[in-house]
């Protein structure tokens, strides 16, 4: 099989439910070996898109290729090469993590070692506990264990840390980072900006079923959205300027400050956070109000 550098290719994807357009001409390309985050508000079309890629849903139009195959028609061999962690699952509550990981390993032609998988997701101490007694975070780790035990080339994670406490989220991020380090391609959806920023090599911001921006988290939104803000107080009034050259701006301010030590009162240099960029992209009016532009 010729190996494309892309694990996932999507062009012009469309899907509607009745009158509601869920995905409206979406384009994506996920490179092999990267962690790719699809970021967007609820109802943006993230889950619909991912479920089309996973082969759960039909599409109305567009080209989709996942590991070189069309998910709508791909068979068992293809399913053996992907791993899917769904948004919510409450099943198998009477089983134990250990027996489930062993059982699911049996579905695949070349599974990972179940014991190593249990260790990798940090469930060793809970391996023989009934699933219904696991915490939300532990349950999610089990979902991931069942998603990776087949040693997938591509892992789908749909809002994996919703409802996690900060510590559980950190530790989950460590797990995903570990998978990336061994070469697994990860496509994750999230509505947490810090998650996308921390985990993803590239982020697609999706709203109304379309990709608004696609780039590395640090580059997202382009130069305009990345401009620094320099703030100071002059004549008792707060002042602000957006600039690509904050150092020069500060030097100029210092030069004309008039004070003997060159101090500029109330000086601040701010770089927009991913959150600022994101909110700007999805057009959050409230966020605009908090960040008045001089």
């Amino acid at each position: 099989m010729p190996t494309s550098p892309l694990a996932v290719e999507v062009a012009g994807l469309r899907k509607r439910y009745g009158d509601r357009v869920a995905v409206d001409g979406l384009d994506l390309a996920v490179r092999r070996g990267e962690v790719f985050a699809v970021l967007g508000p609820n109802g943006a079309g993230k889950t619909t898109t991912v479920e089309i890629l996973e082969g759960f849903r039909d599409r109305d139009a567009g080209h989709v290729s996942v590991l070189g195959q069309d998910p709508a028609t791909a068979g068992r061999e293809w399913r053996a090469r992907i791993g899917v962690v769904l948004q919510e699952a409450r099943d198998l509550s009477e089983a134990t993590a250990e027996e489930l990981v062993r059982h699911f390993a049996g579905y695949y032609p070349a599974p990972r070692d179940p014991d190593e998988v249990i260790d990798a997701v940090g469930l060793r101490e809970k391996a023989r506990t009934r699933v219904r007694l696991l915490s939300g975070g532990q349950r999610r780790r089990l979902d991931v264990a069942l998603g990776i035990v087949g040693d997938p080339e591509l892992l789908f994670l749909d809002e994996p840390t919703t409802g996690f406490d900060p510590q559980a989220r950190r530790s989950f991020w460590g797990l995903v980072g570990g998978l990336r380090d061994q070469g697994t391609t990860v496509l994750l959806t999230t509505h947490y900006l810090d998650e996308a920023e921390h985990l993803a090599d590239r982020v697609a911001v999706v709203r109304d079923g379309r990709v608004l921006a696609l780039d590395a988290p640090s580059e997202l939104g382009g130069r305009a959205a990345r401009r620094a803000v320099v703030r100071w107080v002059e004549d008792g009034e707060p002042r602000e300027v957006r600039t690509d050259h904050p150092t020069r701006a500060v030097a100029e301010l210092a030069a004309r400050s008039g004070s003997p030590d060159g101090e500029v009162p109330g000086l601040q240099v701010l770089r927009p956070s991913l959150e600022d960029v994101y909110l700007g992209l999805i057009g959050d009016a409230a966020a605009e109000a908090q960040e008045p532009v001089a």
């Binding site: 479920e51 053996a80 769904l86 198998l92 027996e99 990972r112 069942l146 990776i148 040693d151 797990l175």
Partner: protein, 285 residues
């Protein structure tokens, strides 16, 4: 916790062969059986229920040597045993499968399986295996109780052949109809509320708890549309003495009609099941 063994070359064209359907079916059966025995509800309301009912009914109605039918009559325990065996088959197949699949679908278990290379055939094979083990075990318990506690004579010779086909056909029909019916409840939680009354009503009108001859004619006719009446009648032809045939409403065991009705439900169940089976919840698109 983030260290996992280094991967084998990821893009190696061959990654071994997919496991066979039969092996996967057996593996599913083994998991399903283990999970079945961890659900207290399933043990009580599916496995133990007919055994408990046989004990209660035989004890209550069989007091003072009471008998059913024209003299010399049949002891109550012997009369009830076939109905309870038929009920057990229906519970272990129809009720159990309908409830389990409805719950698995509602909880996201079916969707999870759909994302794996497990073939659908292996999933259903696992269900069939689980149903067979439970219903055989349950029938054995019933026969053991009847033979030891109530001195019910066990059938001989050719009657076991009749037992075998009624059991196999009844289990197959019940399982297939259970798969088909699993899509009827809106959620896993409502499944028991939808399935249990149907099963209970069928038990009352099909000659399981009451002597079938004593039921009003219209009730007998309604019951004749559904499989349980025919399974119970088929089992009576196995466990009751030959003279009891004349005590049947039709004056005959009606083996031909039994096969026809059970096969009809088997085909209906298959057609409906194939058309309605879903891996996802209704509200999940």
């Amino acid at each position: 916790m983030t260290t996992v063994e280094p991967r084998r070359p990821a893009d190696a064209p061959s990654r071994g062969t997919l496991p066979g359907v039969l092996r996967l079916g057996l593996s599913r059966t083994s998991l399903e059986l283990r999970l079945f025995f961890r659900e207290r509800d399933a043990i009580v309301f599916i496995l133990a229920y007919p055994v408990i009912m046989l004990a209660i009914f035989s004890t209550v109605f069989g007091q003072d040597g009471n008998r059913v039918g024209p003299p010399p009559g049949i002891p109550y325990a012997q009369y009830f045993l076939p109905g309870m065996v038929a009920t057990g088959v229906m519970l272990s197949s129809f009720q159990s499968v309908a409830l389990m699949i409805a719950t698995e679908r509602d909880e996201g278990g079916l969707k999870r399986l759909r994302a794996t290379p497990l073939p659908a055939s292996a999933y259903f094979l696992g269900k069939v295996g689980q149903v067979l083990v439970i219903s055989i075990g349950q029938t054995a318990l019933l026969l053991l109780l009847a033979a030891t506690a109530f001195d019910v004579p066990m059938p001989r010779g050719g009657a076991w052949l009749t037992f075998a086909w009624v059991f196999v056909l009844g289990t197959a029909t019940g399982t297939v109809c259970g798969v088909a019916f699993s899509s009827a409840p809106r959620s896993g939680r409502s499944a028991a509320a939808v399935v249990t009354p149907i099963v209970l009503v069928l038990q009352f009108i099909s000659g399981v708890f009451f002597v079938f001859n004593d039921l009003p004619g219209w009730m007998q006719q309604v019951a004749s549309v559904f499989p349980l009446k025919w399974m119970a009648q088929g089992m009576r032809s196995v466990f009751l003495p030959a003279e009891a045939e004349s005590f049947e409403v039709a004056g005959s065991w009606q083996h031909g009609a039994t096969v026809a009705v059970l096969l009809a439900w088997l085909v209906i169940g298959l057609l409906v099941g194939v058309r309605t089976f879903r891996w996802r919840r209704r509200d999940d698109g």
